[in-house]
Symmetry: C2
Subunit: 288 residues, 2 copies
């Protein structure tokens, strides 16, 4: 019989996974137990601290519902989601960088023609967005599918507004023969991640705020290429350096240019000041 004590316990736990039939599962559970024990050995939790940890994880699970995923949020604020994103998106030079999908993507967004308005009636400063989709190296990708979604002037996504059943500030566009697309919407704003649960407690107890810097989400797909999931952030936002989910990369920050009232990018009359964003996206070819 193995005599289990503080010295021998970790090896005994790792050995207990030796008969795991699936080699990948064996690798994952063994590594998880090893790193978890290393954490416990480093901090030497009291029983009370261990108990508070159990309680935190329990409440995190119990906050999850069909509308809320508190463990993904925990993964986000610990930088794990972005680390998994980085590991799974090692990009060749020149490819547009990736960032997290986030919880507000919805399948089946309205199809909007280039030049159309995707705001769905959301109020706010008018914004014109244009871009070109290419393969790394510069070959345009005609017909690329461009999914876009963003927060409104009050920091809400359509799916967060109780009672709203029609989509707003989201669309599915298709790049033209040159890989170009453009649409009208409204300027996005920074907004807090849900912070009325255990993750909010963690942020508060560690002196962190919940505000994501303003951005527009893009998910762009084209045949023969890996689907690109990313944001384009608004230059000058107060929260660029302290995004709670660690999603900001320098290459994804752009000037959302301010324009006086007058004439829009596409010649239309603009009675109020407005903004414009241009971003060119480069997709990574799929592995053969």
């Amino acid at each position: 019989m193995t005599d289990l004590n503080e010295t021998t316990l970790t090896d005994a736990v790792l050995a207990r996974f030796a008969d795991t039939p699936d080699p990948r599962l064996k690798q994952i559970v063994t590594a998880f137990a090893r790193h978890l024990h290393a954490f416990v050995r480093e901090v030497e939790p009291t029983f009370d601290e261990w108990s508070r940890g159990i309680d935190f994880l329990t409440r995190t699970g119990q906050m999850c519902s069909d509308k809320r995923q508190e463990f993904i949020l925990l993964s986000d604020v610990l930088g794990v989601s972005m680390l998994v994103d980085a590991i799974n998106n090692r990009q060749p030079a020149g490819a547009t960088e990736t960032t997290v999908l986030g919880p507000f993507f919805v399948e089946g967004a309205p199809e909007v023609a280039n030049g159309g308005d995707i705001s769905g009636g959301a109020s706010g400063e008018k914004l014109h967005v244009s871009g070109q989709v290419s393969s790394v190296g510069g070959t345009p990708l005609p017909g690329a599918v461009v999914e876009v979604w963003h927060s409104d002037a009050e920091g809400f996504y359509d799916v967060q507004r109780p009672g709203q059943t029609e989509p707003s500030s989201r669309a599915r566009l298709r790049a033209d023969a040159d890989g170009r697309f453009d649409f009208w919407s409204t300027q996005p704003t920074s907004y807090p991640i849900p912070h009325d649960g255990p993750v909010g407690e963690l942020l508060s107890a560690t002196g962190r705020h919940p505000y994501r810097p303003a951005h527009v989400h893009f998910m762009i797909s084209a045949p023969g290429h890996e689907t690109l999931v990313t944001h384009v952030f608004v230059a000058g936002d107060d929260y660029l350096d302290t995004d709670p989910v660690f999603g900001v990369k320098r290459s994804l920050v752009r000037d959302y240019a301010q324009h006086p009232a007058g004439e829009g990018t596409d010649g239309r009359a603009m009675p109020e000041p407005w903004r414009s964003l241009h971003y060119d996206f480069a997709l990574k070819p799929s592995a053969a």
Copy 2:
């Protein structure tokens, strides 16, 4: 602006906890994030694997209720509960070793006099248990409070039997002037930890069984000493080497001696074969 990528991300996450007001919390969250990132960097999970991990943790939280604590069970089967126990119970030579409290301790167990029967009518082979409680070094501890509880012949604790409202196989005794106690009950059996939830899935997927080797729980307290929480296991049990919660220590395994029908330890007539256990407990003096 920090440019967050696979290389810089972990340091950026750790730096984000720099302003945590409570230094102990800062130490814990920083260490947790560091070890968690090391785990992710080692196994390089795919998005699907990450997503299955999120789902596992979510279901673990949602299995918890006022009658079930699946995250404690997860801590148990990963050896974390016993590691925390070991860290918090570094014992001087000669002190009885500790093991986990488990989920079946109940406050307010019936007070039973020495020599009494604690079985509460549970069926099974009769068992006489005796012991002496001393301080490390051998001084007896008169009046020490001895809480005992154990499974019945079918592997259930009283609190697990639907509809049972009266306690059985549990009691609170008081050591006599020599620190001695004894009681009658029934032989405990091995039993499975709850395995119809995510923790059961983990055991099954990793080729592990859920059976704890048979044992009697003891929680012993005396003035001027640290409360001792431990089990005494039944020598020869099939599961001693593979306890799913890693609770077995060699010094806690004892012969539950078998006796033929005839006369009991205390002179009573025993119409059936019976067993006896004797164990002497040595408590660690409290820090001054």
